[in-house]
Amino acid sequence: MTKDELKAYIESNFSGKLTALDTGRYDLLFETKKGDLVELARALRDDESLKFDYLCNIGAIDTRERFEIVYSIASTVNLLRLDFKIAFSYDDAEVESVQTVWPAANWYEREIWELYGIDIKNHDDLKRFLLPDDWNQGHPMRKDWDAPDFVRFPEFEV
């Protein structure tokens, strides 16, 4: 099933939830609302002709005006690849955990919670694991993050 067949199939079956984005340079990129994240994920995984059973990567992005989380999924059965994105503003930074759909998401969401400060609802053990235990200088991966001993890379005028 080639990329545009997949795009057509998604547009026909998931038209309400997934809207295509054109910034994806290689694989198909869609956007969805934060609300229906978990049912969409479950639908994508259990759909007969899609079978997205493999979660490649969950990445959070701080685009200076809002948060975004990208879910990259693949299907080992039909050899398909797909990314979908959810976007939300800084102040309502909490998202449902997709751990029930793909157990692999456990540590990825834990990392997002620790480095970005996005709260993950009903995740089984949200504990700090990348940063030192006594870390109290906020969430380092945010663009606006600064800390006393953070050595910035020197800017060279061209």
């Binding site: 001993d149 050595v151 910035r152 890379f153 020197p154 060279f156 005028e157 061209v158």
Partner: protein
């Protein structure tokens, strides 16, 4: 216990495999060892191997090839190179200090690729460990001295029009195989110092290893 017939067979197959394993390791007893005894025998470094960053000097005039265009400073991913070259009276940049901080340098070779005046190179030398971090922050003279005996392919378009130098030389093709002398303290060849002795650039203020503020513009 599975029935007795294949237990006996298991034992003998097992013993055969054990003896075969011992045979293989025993075979290695006769073979010559592949390791080098480091301080006595040294590994002959291939010509492209990226060791320490050195500044290359012109073969004839002995002066630095560097025209302080600061391309290497921009290319360095870890900001290990710091150049100060204020413009003198006729708008030409005079190289005041060229510092490479070997504690941060990740030996990636990007500076060598960015420089098109063949002034900087990763020499195949690796023996420069010191007792303190400060000694690893090398200034211009140390870099030039380490780079004296390093051969390089001179890719500069126009040769430096030195008053002393006559016609641009044609035989700049260095012989390909770099014979890298690797004794710890390479003494520099007696070079006639052409340009005036540049006052010793003190290491960057507050340079005490990794937590320094390198916010200079």
């Amino acid at each position: 216990m599975s029935d007795s017939s294949n237990v006996i067979k298991d034992i003998f197959v097992g013993l055969k495999e054990l003896i075969l394993g011992m045979g293989i390791t025993g075979k290695h007893l006769g073979r010559h060892a592949v390791t080098l005894q480091y301080p006595v025998e040294k590994m002959e470094m291939p010509e492209r191997s990226r060791g320490i960053v050195v500044l290359l000097s012109d073969k004839e005039t002995g002066g630095l090839n560097c025209t302080s265009c600061m391309l290497c400073m921009r290319a360095c991913p870890t900001a290990a190179i710091r150049i100060e070259a204020p413009r003198d009276e006729n708008k030409k940049r005079q190289l005041k200090s060229f510092v490479v901080d070997n504690t941060i340098c990740c030996f990636c070779g990007l500076c060598e690729e960015a420089c098109n005046f063949s002034a900087i190179k990763m020499a195949p030398k690796y023996e420069f460990s010191t007792w303190t971090r400060e000694e690893l922050i090398w200034d211009k003279d140390k870099l030039q001295e380490m780079g004296r005996d390093v051969d390089y392919v001179d890719t500069r378009k126009k040769k430096p029009a030195k008053a002393a130098a006559a016609a641009p030389k044609a035989d700049a093709k260095a012989e390909p195989k770099a014979e890298a002398k690797v004794e710890p303290k390479p003494e520099p060849k007696p070079e006639p110092k052409v340009e005036p002795k540049v006052e010793d650039a003190k290491p960057h203020p507050g340079a005490d290893g990794d937590s320094k503020e390198n916010e200079e513009k």
